[in-house]
């Protein structure tokens, strides 16, 4: 095939294919497109975000360096402090509920029963469907006048008047947590189910032979073996919940009276809607400690397991 090529070209082809045989050259060449994408659209914005948080940039103008001024301002800002508390509450309660309910669901569908495949497929639906669209469904479910929830509770005789789900700060928080739990339970269930399926049946039989009851079997057989996957699922979910945006933005926009802001929605409001890019970037930077803490915790737990 190369016979017709001039000598120099033939040497170049040979040189190229020799390069193609070098692990180093070929390795970096193949990784290059992905690395380039991540450098330009992930690593660079990441650093730019840190830099912006130290400036007074507006949306159309480059700001100047102001040191920690944005952070100082935010720590004294009542709305931001409320957002911190709210993020802790939202993530703490939602992740805990998702874990408990997800685990219960995983244990249920880990059994043998008719229609198991169908149930397993159906239970994942809340997680598959676009969150923004399911957020709209919840917005409609939480309607102050025509809520189907209110109608059901009324028909059961549990309440008499309408409920203003999104009008009261605490009710709004609870409503959002419920919607977040709804979406996240399948993720926990399928992750923990995968963990449960790695537990060898013989272990249960051996434990039963040794006289272990259901609780002891769970505590000493199931739990230690699904702990690693539990940690991974919980860490992922915590990061995603702390970094949640769309559910809050669609249903309450951070209201009523800034009661349901998370870092993401507040950063959007300040940076994109308000134009204070530096301040918004600083709000988003506060997600970072949570991220690092989660990863460190997961790393330590998983290493101790090994």
């Amino acid at each position: 095939m190369e016979a017709g090529l001039p000598h120099a070209a033939r040497r170049r082809v040979a040189g190229l294919s020799a390069l193609g045989e070098s692990r180093e050259v070929l390795g970096w060449a193949l990784a290059a497109p992905a690395v380039a994408l991540l450098l330009v659209f992930l690593a660079y914005p990441f650093l730019l975000g840190l830099w912006l948080s130290l400036t007074d940039s507006r949306i159309a103008e480059t700001g100047r360096f102001v040191g920690l001024e944005n952070f100082r301002y935010l720590l004294g800002d009542g709305v931001f402090r409320l957002a911190v508390l709210n993020t802790l509450l939202y993530a703490g309660v939602a992740v805990a509920l998702k874990f408990v309910l997800g685990f219960a669901l995983a244990l249920l569908v880990n059994r043998e029963f008719a229609g198991k495949r169908l149930v397993r497929a159906a239970m994942l639906l809340p997680w598959i469907v676009p969150t923004s669209l399911s957020a709209l469904i919840f917005y409609w479910i939480y309607d102050s006048q025509f809520s189907v929830l209110t109608w059901i509770l009324r028909s059961l005789g549990w309440i008499s008047g309408p409920i203003n789900y999104l009008g009261d700060p605490n009710l709004a928080r609870a409503s959002l947590i419920a919607a977040n739990v709804w979406r996240g339970v399948p993720f926990f269930a399928i992750g923990l189910l995968a963990g449960l399926q790695t537990v060898p049946r013989e272990l249960y039989e051996a434990a039963q032979m040794d006289g272990a009851g259901p609780w002891a079997r769970f505590r000493f057989v199931t739990w230690p073996l699904v702990l690693p996957v539990s940690v991974v699922v919980t860490v992922f979910s915590t990061i995603m919940t702390v970094g949640d945006f769309q559910l809050i933005w669609i249903v309450t926009k951070g209201g009523p009276a800034n009661a349901t802001h998370l870092f993401g929605t507040l950063a959007y409001q300040r940076a994109i809607q308000g134009g204070f890019l530096g301040e918004g970037a600083a709000v988003a930077v506060f997600v970072l400690p949570v991220l690092v803490a989660c990863v460190a915790l997961a790393y330590r737990t998983l290493r101790r397991e090994d």
């Binding site: 992905a34 660079y44 730019l48 309910l101 994942l124 676009p130 991974v232 702390v242």
Partner: protein
């Protein structure tokens, strides 16, 4: 006795879970099919309608920008998925199979980028997107979605490559195939199920994305379904719940379809990504 125990300990809780997880979908469906005069009538039982109508659907399709939104979402999702998958495949092969100097570190670095949530990135990214002249253009999303698709795909594919026996590739090498030929003709075909899982997952994640689409696109007919529905179907302060629920229904169909066709791959992708 056993049957009663099974009912209380198994069927009831499972039924409660399914009711909780599936009721919102039922409510969406009923709302989408119910005529307006029944939708806002508090004296009727809202859970059922005896006079289903396609009015909301008609309104959604012909009086809103829903169809352009669907097309935009499809184009962007396919573009972002193709770009991410192509780059991730090459990178995963390089990291997993070539084991060049620094490949271990690169793998860990890519995994760490997987954990960076979009809320940290969207503010600075908005500046980069406008500096590149991509504001309000689909390319803005095709280029930024890989920030979460590539790390995920590389990670998933690395896990899948690890399950493939290296002997076949070694044989091909002994027979004189170049590394690229091995990659093209041996590794990739063997990894097809993993690639498919990746594809499905990446497509779903792109289709569902909201934050970047909200920030980087501004004109009505450039929007994606998730953003367009939530921002454009409000007249004044009034939500048009019928068309909105019809839109939520139709907007979920593509991912639900992909999901139902490839449930096994989907679950494999999800659990594979968790177990690594």
């Amino acid at each position: 006795m056993r049957a009663v125990a099974r009912l209380i300990g198994f069927h009831l809780p499972l039924g409660a879970f399914l009711l909780f997880l599936l009721f919102p979908f039922y409510w969406m469906l009923v709302t989408a099919l119910k005529p307006n005069r029944h939708l806002y009538d508090l004296t009727l039982n809202p859970l059922w309608t005896w006079s289903p109508t396609l009015d909301h659907l008609r309104k959604l399709l012909w009086e809103t920008h829903f169809l352009p939104w669907m097309r935009n979402t499809l184009v962007i999702s396919l573009g972002a998925t193709a770009l991410s998958l192509a780059t991730a495949l090459l990178a995963a092969y390089a990291i997993g199979r070539l084991r060049f100097r620094g490949s271990g570190l690169l793998g860990i670095a890519i995994f760490l980028t997987y954990l960076v949530p979009p809320v940290i990135l969207f503010v600075p990214l908005s500046r980069i997107v406008s500096a590149l002249g991509l504001w309000d253009r689909p390319a803005a999303l095709v280029l930024t979605y890989p920030t979460f698709l590539v790390p995920f795909s590389v990670w998933l594919l690395l896990g899948y490559f690890r399950t493939l026996p290296p002997e076949l590739e070694d044989c091909a090498r002994v027979d004189g195939a170049s590394r690229l030929q091995v990659m093209r003709y041996i590794t990739f075909p063997l990894a097809l199920p993993g690639i498919l899982s990746c594809l499905i997952f990446a497509f779903t994640l792109s289709w569902n994305e909201y934050l970047y689409a909200l920030v980087f696109l501004s004109s009505t007919d450039h929007k994606t379904v998730p953003v367009g529905l939530a921002t454009e179907l409000v007249t004044g302060d009034v939500f048009q719940w019928g068309p909105l629920m019809a839109g939520a229904l139709l907007g979920s169909v593509p991912v639900a379809l992909v999901y139902s066709l490839f449930v096994e791959h989907y679950v494999a992708a999800l659990t594979g990504a968790l177990k690594e």
